[in-house]
């Protein structure tokens, strides 16, 4: 009995210190896993090495073209090429698989000259037929691609010349180059395997090797790449859904680069000489509060105005995003042709004004406020928004929702109340946002906002001959007024992508699409 008693006491003590030990182990843990994975020379780029990346969300083959996860973005950026590239800070198309282009004066067609030295990873030559196949794939609604309408507006394909293609449009497309920047060139012969997640065949700098669901993606260097041969031997993307675990793995040397760290962790890592934090100013995203107008209370514009006045955007930027962002009312970055500095001041932080509106509205029921679970940034923003709203008399109930479920609800338009999320595309041609992005699409959006005016302005901006024509800019101003007057989506802040890495990871960048670009990346000693 005594032995048993001692054993039980030992168990009790073990249980008691287990929590404390967990913390200690996490902080003290170091690994030699990363020691032997790289080679190189003392000066200049060196060849070889495996780059290990931590990603928060796994790929979903059925929605592989929706850019809705960091692993998906890494896969698309590594395996596929696009026809053109936008620089991070402008909308001037640069050649990639298309070497030059000529747009018809009426804006109804575009002829692209294509590279003739490009092969798919399968060994097959890249031709104009592949461009046609890729655009038609994106036009297929089953893939739920956000630029589906733009792809579907391309109705004619002249592929007589295998190294040139003429695209004919339903109507002028001011955002056609946005599509050509985002569209990956897909191999038609392996599309069935792509749907099942078994093969991703492109023409890009890295070859897809394997996908272990919820675990990792593996890529090797494409030795026959048409551009400069990549330095890295390969890339391994580890799915680490907990951002904090990503940080710990970076600190312990098990990962070289992470994409999911919170801004506070990025700030801390940036102060540590053993790590680098890299920002990409042109690949912006916006965090917003969405309102589902099928909720009878949120259908009231006055309540949405009260919410817009009630939220302290400055505090969110300063305390959650550690100053890496800008408070906004409109989504556009300052180089966008739709940028409106005065418009961004429409709804300043004014709790008194918000309280006055809420008082007039009378008693309000508790509103659901959803956000993606497990993300420290979202959780903090949601709690600040909740406190701001409660301070003016609007009660909310926080609903942390698993990310893939959240995206499913967003695409399906079943949010039911308020939600907090980030959107992209405002750094592209403004019409892309208004006719493509799930939260803004004038045809069908997650807020169920319907307006003939908004739709007319969106269609007019979309149908302008170019994205920066006077006609297009006039419509952007009208769109800005629609967004500010209707507030179906309340912008909070414009944010910039940041990733953390070890200083050994050199020369990586990010495309405007938000895909990390490792074509020139090497691992220093």
């Amino acid at each position: 009995m005594r032995a048993s008693s001692r054993l039980t006491i030992t168990r009790s003590l073990a249980l008691a210190v287990a929590g404390a030990l967990t913390l200690g182990v996490l902080t003290a843990c170091s690994s030699a896993v990363g020691e032997a994975h790289r080679g190189g020379s003392e000066s200049g780029p060196s060849d070889g090495g495996l780059l290990r990346i931590g990603s928060t969300s796994d790929i979903v083959p059925a929605t592989i073209f929706t850019n809705s996860s960091d692993a998906t973005n890494t896969l698309i950026g590594a395996v596929y090429d696009s026809l053109i590239d936008y620089p991070l800070d402008s909308l001037e198309p640069q050649p990639r698989l298309a070497t030059s282009w000529e747009q018809a004066d009426d804006g109804l067609s575009l002829t692209l000259q294509l590279r003739d030295d490009v092969k798919f990873h399968s060994g097959r030559d890249f031709t104009s037929k592949d461009v046609e196949f890729s655009i038609k794939t994106w036009a297929d609604p089953t893939w739920t691609v956000q630029l589906q309408r733009t792809a579907a507006a391309i109705t004619g394909f002249d592929t007589t010349d295998p190294h040139a293609i003429t695209l004919t449009f339903d109507h002028p497309l001011s955002n056609v180059f946005d599509l050509l920047d985002m569209l990956p060139i897909i191999d038609s012969e392996s599309i069935d395997e792509l749907k099942q997640g078994k093969a991703y065949v492109g023409t890009g700098p890295f070859v897809f090797e394997s996908w272990t669901p919820s675990s990792k993606l593996e890529f090797t260097r494409n030795d026959d790449y048409w551009g400069d041969e990549p330095h890295l031997d390969g890339i391994e993307v580890d799915i680490v859904s907990d951002p904090q675990a990503q940080v710990s793995q970076l600190r312990s040397g098990q990962l070289d680069l992470i994409t999911g760290a919170s801004n506070r962790d990025l700030e801390t890592l940036g102060k540590d000489s053993k790590f680098s934090v890299t920002g990409f100013d042109g690949a912006a995203q916006q965090i917003y509060v969405g309102a589902d107008l099928t909720n009878p209370n949120l259908d009231d514009l006055e309540l949405r105005k009260a919410i817009a006045y009630a939220v302290d955007r400055e505090r969110i930027v300063d305390e959650v995003f550690r100053g890496v962002g800008t408070p906004i009312n409109l989504p556009w970055p300052d180089y966008s042709p739709a940028y409106d500095a005065a418009g961004n001041e429409t709804y300043p932080y004014d709790p008194d004004q918000a309280k006055g509106i809420v008082t007039k509205l009378g008693d309000l029921p508790t509103l659901p406020l959803a956000y993606p679970a497990g993300n420290a940034n979202y959780e903090q923003v949601a709690q600040i928004v909740q406190a701001n709203l409660e301070a003016v008399g609007i009660k909310t109930e926080l609903q942390p929702t698993e990310y893939s479920q959240f995206i499913k609800q967003l695409i399906g338009g079943t949010m039911g109340g308020l939600w907090i999320l980030q959107h992209a595309y405002a750094h592209y041609t403004p019409s892309t946002l208004a006719v493509s992005a799930y939260p803004f699409n004038a045809d069908k959006n997650a807020s169920h906002f319907e307006s003939a005016e908004y739709k007319r302005h969106a269609e007019a901006a979309w149908g302008a001959p170019s994205g920066d024509s006077p006609e297009a800019i006039e419509n952007y101003q009208a769109l800005n007024k629609d967004l500010l007057d209707n507030l179906f989506l309340i912008e909070l802040a414009l944010l910039h992508f940041q990733v953390a890495s070890t200083p050994d990871v050199q020369d990586f960048t990010m495309s405007k699409r938000g895909e990390l670009d490792f074509r020139a990346t090497y691992l220093a000693d």
């Binding site: 009995m1 008693s5 168990r11 249980l15 008691a16 929590g19 420290a376 709690q383 600040i384």
Partner: protein, 296 residues
């Protein structure tokens, strides 16, 4: 613990009722176990944590959800003894109120789960058919590790204290059901139960008057153990984001936030961790004291 047929059949005025005799023998043993040694240590630890939780509205300097302007993740100081969190809330206040969440789980969910489990175990084990059905259902529930069960349940009802409550009910019900069944099968073979059956006592009367009272001691020990396990379940679920929803605090969710901020604010999780240790250790010491008293 045995009682004779003579005792059961004896006139009321001749001697104390058998249950009274049983109570007189058992209660001093249990109470004395909790008044000395590890039993007392356990009671003091649990009592201290319970007192802090109950007195939270008086002791906490701020509301647990109040966001204090400018106090963003500041360290321990005179104004904020345990510091503040990343959305400017006083950690001492959140910790004190967080105890209440655990108290609900420990002192409400576990006893309810235990009561239902005991009832199901008691009733089902009396007849062969219900016994087989109940045991297979218990097998099914017990086959799931607790966290897997929690994740599965969260997928249907979403995260929150209600989910923690249901998970603990689901986990404790078969534990107590099975333990009760074991006791029932032992006790019902006792001569005094057979005697009661012979003189025409009904099944429910036998269960209530003989079987249940004689099964209570192992169940009390299990109750204390289950309460300590419940603290861990709440902590683990909240740590994984399956527990209480923000902004409500719980010890588990505070530890999770502390781990998130361990490089910037290593002090963050100290308070909640100490309280979890105290609560779990206290309950385990109580259970050990009860177990030893039972065996004595």
């Amino acid at each position: 613990m045995s009682e004779s047929l003579i005792d059961v059949a004896a006139p009321e005025h001749a001697a104390p009722q058998p249950d009274e005799q049983f109570d007189q023998r058992r209660r001093p043993s249990i109470w004395s176990a909790l008044r000395r040694g590890k039993g007392l240590a356990g009671v003091l630890l649990v009592g201290a944590v319970v007192a802090l939780g109950l007195l939270a509205p008086l002791l906490a300097p701020h509301s647990p959800t109040e966001q204090i302007p400018g106090a963003n993740l500041v360290g321990p100081s005179g104004a904020h003894w345990l510091g503040t969190d990343e959305v400017n809330r006083d950690l001492l206040s959140r910790t004190l109120f967080g105890i209440r969440t655990d108290l609900v789980v420990v002192f409400l969910a576990v006893p309810i789960g235990a009561a239902i489990g005991i009832l199901v175990g008691l009733v089902s084990s009396w007849w062969t058919f219900t016994d087989v059905v109940a045991q297979r259902v218990f097998d099914l529930v017990l086959a799931f590790p607790t966290l897997i069960l929690a994740i599965a349940l969260t997928a249907f009802v979403g995260p929150g204290l209600r989910t923690v409550f249901f998970v603990i009910l689901a986990v404790e019900l078969p534990v107590f059901g099975r333990l009760t069944r074991t006791s029932v099968r032992t006790v019902r073979e006792m001569p005094y139960v057979e005697a009661a059956h012979v003189v025409g006592a009904g099944s429910w009367w036998q269960l209530r008057r003989h079987v249940l009272p004689n099964s209570m001691e192992p169940l009390l020990v299990q109750l204390a153990v289950s309460m300590s396990v419940a603290v861990f379940i709440e902590g683990a679920m909240s740590f994984l984001g399956l527990g209480v929803r923000p902004p409500a605090p719980s010890l588990g969710s505070l530890i999770r936030d502390g781990v998130r901020n361990m490089y910037d604010a290593p002090y963050f999780a100290v308070g909640p961790l100490a309280l979890v240790v105290a609560l779990v250790l206290g309950l385990l010491l109580v259970s050990q004291a009860l177990a030893e008293a039972r065996r004595a």
